[in-house]
Symmetry: C2
């Protein structure tokens, strides 16, 4: 890439979605007089009797959580999706709607209320991945389920209402828009090249070595060329795996390792429990073989300048498209150079 | 629409973008233990010597604002886009980028630091519309400018760093993604029907009378059938006008009136200065006649339950697609029944 692109406004193309992102590298010196986020509350206790996710506690609907030792999944008591294949369509002129069915689950990562992924052991994170695999396989086997979205909202800034380490799984009948875009771009590339687009992209990234943060035998974590959020990252398996169900035991272990290392770097960046939404995009469970899919896990963290100043995706971003100030390369440099040991343990 | 759709999860189709939104009407009873926003600061003074937008004050780059009496526009001192047609493309395997050029302006709505649109007079809002028209026409005449995004970020929750009443205009060479989607859907409908899709949609909405909030001789404000944000609204001119430059004087007056009335209802909803991003989508200035375009102004406000609890577009929304709990009809009922007089003036 010629040097001047690092200094002038430009757009970068997202090969997975077909969308562009506006990059304004010259703009990082802008002063900030706007909103500052609250710092994360101080250390949590290992058990909180008021937490509806802690083992043995009673939830809002009267159910009692088991005394779980590793992980625990249950159907969301206030689910946005409800099971039951109705398949009704309504087309009344320009009012168009259809029923949607699905299942929403909550996934507790650990019985210990005070932990987060970077502070969990690699074995404990492996247990979380095992649970994701089990859910992906069980939900995916259901006739009415064609897509499974595994995600985590971490921190109050990301709408998370409970600090207990947990994520969610929303499984549904239709293929959501964000997934459909990635499906069609991966398919077009696969049909043309008979290689997954992320295999070729990863090879090019490893060669360029400008945006890589972490690498182990089976996985790479990097800032994608087209990153939207300031410190957005993507974890890509080196093997072309359609979904997390295809991981070998060694790969699962390596996946747990890179999750721990990446989230540790995140916490170390501003010495705070780093808020983000993370999610896994993988093969829909729609009965097709979906060979073109190459699963990956993305992190979308909002913080920009400090533990309290985030990037706002508002006005221009809502009406036109995403915009960022620091380049992907600058963000990668910052994250790469951070220590591997969590700041609270040093 | 058959009654059961109001009670069960369903998806609604956005005729302008071709995307779907997940609606979960049964979910409104969910408790909230998450983040609460700070209430807006108490009343601002009419003049703030530390505000870089107040008349006569000096900005960060040393320039002095004129003693403006109505509105004032200037080029953003920290612009995300810079003028200068470079047209360089970079295609290095799967790394694809191109230069982007443009102009970012700040538009002060009033010299009075303490005002907001609902508290301004109709004449003063008309002056703001006149300024938007002038900027649309002057920027649109430039060879390098093909799209002009007029928008306002209001409130700290929406990343606004200064309470002085103001908006922004980002004019650029390429057509941004959100606009391109609306361009192609409006064009397809126009080619087929030789009527603008929003003319037909508006007729159907007025007939259904379920989502209308305000109507005057020339404009309607309503909750779109496919609304994403809890109290999202759209203002549509009754005449098929491609852009704001086509407004007659009477229409401009009616546009100012409906903006004042709608933003007053917003403030009255939770008796707070209601945060939002608002933007005008209108014909690109790319030299085509763009007959298919029907301009409209949208408001995307984040508040959900109260002055301090907002809807978070995170996890599922980022990785899959938008989701809402209250239906468009419920939101319209709430807004419609609110008083027309601002709560601070009662
Ligand atoms: O230009 P401002 O007001 O400093 O910045 C605000 O609006 C911009 C345009 O929507 C966004 O890119 C910024 O994230 C937001 O903080
Ligand atoms: O389900 P929760 O954690 O209560 O809610 C959170 O995550 C959901 C899924 O991303 C979002 O729809 C909500 O806006 C957010 O507050």
């Amino acid at each position: 890439m010629s040097v001047h692109f690092y200094e002038q406004p430009h757009r970068r193309y997202n090969i997975l979605t077909g969308e562009w992102i506006l990059v304004s590298p010259h703009r990082t010196k802008r002063p900030w007089q706007g909103k500052v986020e609250k710092l994360n509350p101080t250390k949590q206790p290992a058990f909180d009797e008021n937490c509806y996710l802690c083992p043995g506690n009673t939830r809002a609907n009267g159910e009692v959580n088991p005394i779980y030792k590793n992980t625990f999944a249950f159907t969301n008591d206030f689910a946005a999706l409800i099971s039951g294949d109705k398949n009704e369509t309504l087309e009344n002129g320009l009012f168009i709607a259809e029923t949607e069915s699905g299942i929403c689950k909550v996934v507790c990562f650990s019985p210990n209320h005070s932990l987060t992924l970077p502070l969990m052991t690699i074995d404990a994170i492996s247990n979380v991945i095992s649970l994701w695999q089990d859910e992906y396989s069980a939900l995916g086997a259901l006739e009415e389920i064609n897509h499974i979205q595994i995600f985590e909202n971490k921190g109050a800034t990301m709408g998370c209402s409970n600090p207990h380490p947990h994520g969610q799984i929303w499984a549904q009948q239709t293929i959501p828009h964000e997934v459909a875009k990635k499906d069609s771009h991966q398919l077009a590339y696969w049909n043309k090249n008979k290689r997954s687009i992320l295999s070729d992209y990863l090879a090019q990234e490893l060669d360029a070595d400008e945006r890589i943060i972490l690498e182990n035998e089976y996985f790479v974590a990097l800032i994608p060329y087209w990153a939207v959020w300031p410190y957005e990252t993507i974890i890509i398996p080196k093997r072309h795996l359609q979904h997390i169900g295809r991981l070998t035991d060694l790969e699962k272990q390596a996946f747990a390792e890179i999750i721990k290392e990446l989230t540790t770097k995140y916490d170390n960046l501003f010495e705070t429990s780093f808020p983000y939404s993370a999610g896994i995009h993988q093969s829909p469970t729609n009965g097709n073989d979906n060979e073109h899919w190459h699963f990956h896990m993305s992190f979308y963290p909002p913080l920009l300048r400090s533990a309290t100043v985030k990037k706002f995706m508002v006005g221009y971003e809502m009406f036109a498209g995403p915009q960022r100030d620091i380049t992907a390369e600058q963000a990668a440099n910052s994250l790469r150079s951070l220590p591997d040991v969590h700041y609270t343990l040093r």
